[in-house]
């Protein structure tokens, strides 16, 4: 994937001007991608609902109500997703679980992207020995099964808090971003404007930060979005088998795990959290796809 660059000089203003119009183009292409737009709307609705769970739902998260246990989804009484074994409103629990999941996923996205970008940038820019070492480390992380490593880390180090889980997940998922960033940096390094900047006496830091990095933002963002989706799936798998977020902090994978024994008779316990996971990941993937298309289209326009 090549990124188009202004063929004229490194004039700061010139760069800024070209940048703005590119960005505008990017945004408008994205908005035209219908599926991505719809996904964005749905996702925003879910996130807003999850963050405002207290205000939306009349029931508390751990409101035990034994007489009302094991009810299916009903309209009266407001148990839209039914209740669980202890009579707790399931809609509330799914919302809170979504909140934890989103929190973990966003944290992972940020941490993993930062780490991956840093490492990828160093490897791609400096090349040679550094690149070799960093890439071999990346390879090692990739060939070991991620879930297994996470389970090991959780067993010996884990606390089961969302932050902890997020940090552990980031320590594995940075590799996705690193590879992309490295490839970008390696190809961009050879561009004329970079050479020109170096000749003009710019320090490596300035070159990376001012010149190369802005042009890699596109792929970085696309990959960050996809990292969120991967993080959600891995986190829910971990909580499902009991190695992720520990109770009583809610998590969607945990809810599925708790409900799977009575799947036959209380289908809502497993269905709703699962649907929530699928919906969130689906919307994120569509948005990521939209972003990628918008990026590509911008390049197609220029070339």
């Amino acid at each position: 994937m090549t990124v188009p660059l202004p063929s004229t000089a490194t004039d700061r203003e010139g760069l800024a001007v070209a940048h703005r119009s590119q960005f505008r183009l990017f945004v408008s292409r994205f908005f035209r991608h219908r599926v991505a737009m719809i996904s964005l709307v749905i996702l925003t609705a879910i996130v807003v609902a999850a963050l405002n769970a207290e205000r939306i739902s009349p029931y508390p998260y751990d409101g035990m109500n034994l007489p009302a246990a094991n009810l299916g989804p009903t309209v009266e009484g407001g148990h839209y997703f039914g209740t669980d074994k202890l009579g707790r409103d399931y809609f509330t629990r799914v919302l809170y679980g979504t909140r934890t999941t989103i929190f973990v996923a966003m944290t992972v996205a940020v941490l993993a992207t930062l780490t991956g970008t840093l490492i990828g940038a160093f490897a791609g820019y400096f090349g040679g020995r550094i690149d070799n070492i960093l890439m071999r480390i990346t390879d090692l992380v990739i060939i070991l099964p991620g879930l297994a490593l996470l389970m090991i880390l959780t067993t010996f180090l884990g606390e089961g808090t969302p932050i902890h889980v997020a940090v552990l997940l980031s320590s594995l998922l940075w590799t996705l971003v690193a590879r992309i960033v490295r490839a970008q940096f390696m190809s961009l390094k050879r561009r004329e404007f970079v050479e020109a900047a170096i000749l003009a006496g710019a320090s490596p830091w300035r070159v990376i930060w001012r010149h190369i990095l802005p042009n890699t933002l596109g792929p970085i963002i696309v990959n960050a979005t996809l990292t969120i989706s991967t993080a959600i799936l891995i986190e829910s798998a971990l909580s499902f088998i009991g190695f992720g977020v520990k109770p009583p902090t809610p998590a969607l994978g945990q809810l599925i795990s708790q409900g799977r024994g009575s799947m036959q008779t209380q289908w809502w316990l497993v269905t709703f959290p699962g649907l929530m996971i699928v919906t969130i990941c689906l919307t994120i993937n569509f948005i990521g796809d939209g972003l990628r298309d918008a990026l590509d289209a911008r390049q197609a326009q220029r070339s």
Partner: protein, 543 residues
């Protein structure tokens, strides 16, 4: 027809199923003609055994109890009514006090599965094996109290003890075959297979990871067995287990009594649940070294803040209608010596709050009490991965929240929980199952000089009572002392029982039958943890 009619009302269905099974059993195996002969039963268990050596540390799992229960038969058996019945021995063991001795007389017709008779020398051999320092034995008690034995004649042997063993009927629940094991390395002899045993079934093959096949012991000296074969399949996932029952790939299983199983299974056609609550209780232990828990009124308040009856109603009653809140540590409600010592601290949230306030506790801004500088916030240590335990935690947490005490989850793997955290006192509240009608197992935990007393609890009066129990063989005096011990425990409250644990078997009544769960074991193979397979010779296949 009856089945589908009853399936609409799950409770009645379960009770009816149990009644029918009970009736069938009442007609007894002696009317063998009434019970269909032959056939195979496929039984699913959650874990695979690592070894069959039930005395080795690695052989303490439920899987070892499940498999050995089919292959072994013991000196006494423990039916559901709680009255032990002699089996290998031809009559009750003769007991003398002062000094304490037990004399066994083996049945004339008792044999191992290779036809070799069971004799006094096998008892002697079993004892020698258990106390041999060369072998790795998980728990030599109380066999290490044996000072010597005397073989009176070929079938009679008398053991002398240095101290009375009130639960002597649980001894020799396994009798090892001397003619087969003499000279062999006991640590490894029964690691892969058990060639010679004395129970209704013997091991035929082990398809690792998949199943073990047991076949009928033609030389079994008791009644039956009715079945030709029992195939034990390993299914680690509870949900899969239920699916397999539904699909007919398995006929029966002994799952952990998780709440969701009950509600699912109660609605499945043809699936019967046989569950009984026995002497085992789930209880909560306090760490006296935690600030706040060292105060008796805090402990009392905690107990008063939890509605134990509601827990029983919600988690246990659906499967076992006879489940009750345990109020005594030492006797079951059915026992004539039962005295509900723990009843005084029943559910009373207002009383709990008042108790705390009367003792000078004040509520913080977050509604959590602070007593004498100690904030009432505690960690709750229990086994991870257990649905029932997690549910219990959430219930306890909710109740205690209402009286201003905060509980935080602290789950560990069973190996860590019981291996490290318990013995080393790394807990505030510790949750586990157990029953102590025999203070000897209790002393290491509760005695002032207890070797694994990590909780810091110490009451010289309790120590005195426990010591006296160990030297009293008279059952009447003993019951009195046990109740006195219970009183002290109910007052000091180093722990309290939350609810009774039930044991259960789930099976397809259209295919198999003969189950009669007996909850009188603690589940450990080294002390006889057979609860569903104590009467395996009575199992049959519906033809």
């Amino acid at each position: 027809m009856i089945v589908s009619c009853l399936a609409v009302r799950p409770w009645r269905f379960a009770i009816a199923g149990a009644l029918v099974a009970g009736l069938m059993l009442a007609s007894g195996p002696s009317n063998a003609q009434d019970v269909p002969q032959g056939g195979t039963m496929v039984f699913a268990h959650e874990q695979e055994p690592g070894t069959f050596n039930m005395f080795h540390p690695s052989g303490q799992s439920g899987a070892v109890a499940a498999t050995n229960g089919l292959m072994q038969i013991g000196t006494y058996r423990f039916p559901p009514d709680g009255v032990p019945v002699p089996f290998i021995i031809e009559k009750e063991a003769e007991v003398t006090n002062d000094p304490f001795t037990v004399t066994y007389t083996v049945r004339e017709d008792a044999t191992f599965n290779d036809g070799h008779p069971i004799r006094a020398e096998d008892y002697a051999f079993t004892y020698e094996t258990l106390v041999n320092p060369e072998w790795t034995i998980a728990n030599r008690k109380p066999y290490d109290l044996i000072t010597g034995y005397e073989i009176i004649d070929e079938r009679t042997i008398k053991f002398s003890f240095s101290a009375p063993v009130p639960s002597y009927k649980k001894l020799f629940h396994i009798v090892l075959p001397k003619h087969d094991l003499e000279g062999k390395n006991w640590d490894t002899a029964w690691q892969e297979t058990v060639p010679v045993s004395n129970g209704p079934f013997k091991m035929e093959s082990w398809d690792r990871g998949q199943q073990i096949v047991f076949v009928k012991n033609e030389n079994f000296f008791g009644n039956g067995p009715n079945l030709d074969r029992i195939v034990m399949r390993f299914v680690p996932e509870t949900n899969t287990l239920l699916e397999l029952l539904r699909s007919g790939e398995i006929d029966a299983s002994d799952p952990q009594p998780q709440p969701e199983i009950i509600s699912t299974v109660a609605n499945l056609e043809g699936i019967t649940v046989d569950a009984k609550t026995g002497l085992l209780n789930e209880f909560i232990r306090f760490n006296f070294k935690t600030p706040g828990l060292d105060k008796k009124y805090v402990r009392h308040a905690i107990m008063m803040g939890i509605d134990r009856q509601a827990i029983v109603d919600q988690l246990m009653k659906p499967v076992d209608p006879t489940a009750t809140t345990p109020q005594s540590w030492v006797f079951a409600p059915s026992s004539p010596n039962y005295q509900p010592k723990f009843e005084a601290l029943g559910y009373n949230p207002e009383g709990a709050i008042k108790l705390l306030e009367d003792n000078g506790c004040t509520r913080g801004a977050d509604q959590i009490f602070v007593c004498d500088g100690a904030r009432l916030e505690f960690g709750y240590v229990t086994t991870a991965g257990s649905e029932r335990r997690e549910l219990t935690f959430e219930i306890v947490q909710a109740y205690l929240q209402m009286i201003g005490i905060q509980i935080n989850a602290d789950f560990s793997e069973a190996a860590v929980q019981f291996g490290t955290r318990g013995p080393q006192g790394q807990y505030d509240l510790f949750v586990q199952g157990g029953l102590y009608d025999d203070p000897i197992p209790l002393m290491p935990y509760m005695g002032c000089e207890g070797t694994i007393n990590a909780s810091g609890y110490c009451n010289p009066e309790l120590d005195a009572v426990m010591n006296e129990i160990t030297v009293t063989a008279d059952p009447v005096k003993q019951a009195e002392l046990l109740n006195r011990m219970d009183s002290i425990l109910a007052e000091d409250l180093p722990f309290f029982p939350v609810f009774g644990l039930s044991r259960m078997v789930v099976y397809n009544a259209n295919r198999v039958g003969g189950f009669d769960v007996s909850p009188f074991t603690d589940g450990t193979p080294s002390t006889g943890g057979w609860y569903w397979n104590w009467n395996s010779q009575d199992f049959y296949r519906v033809q």
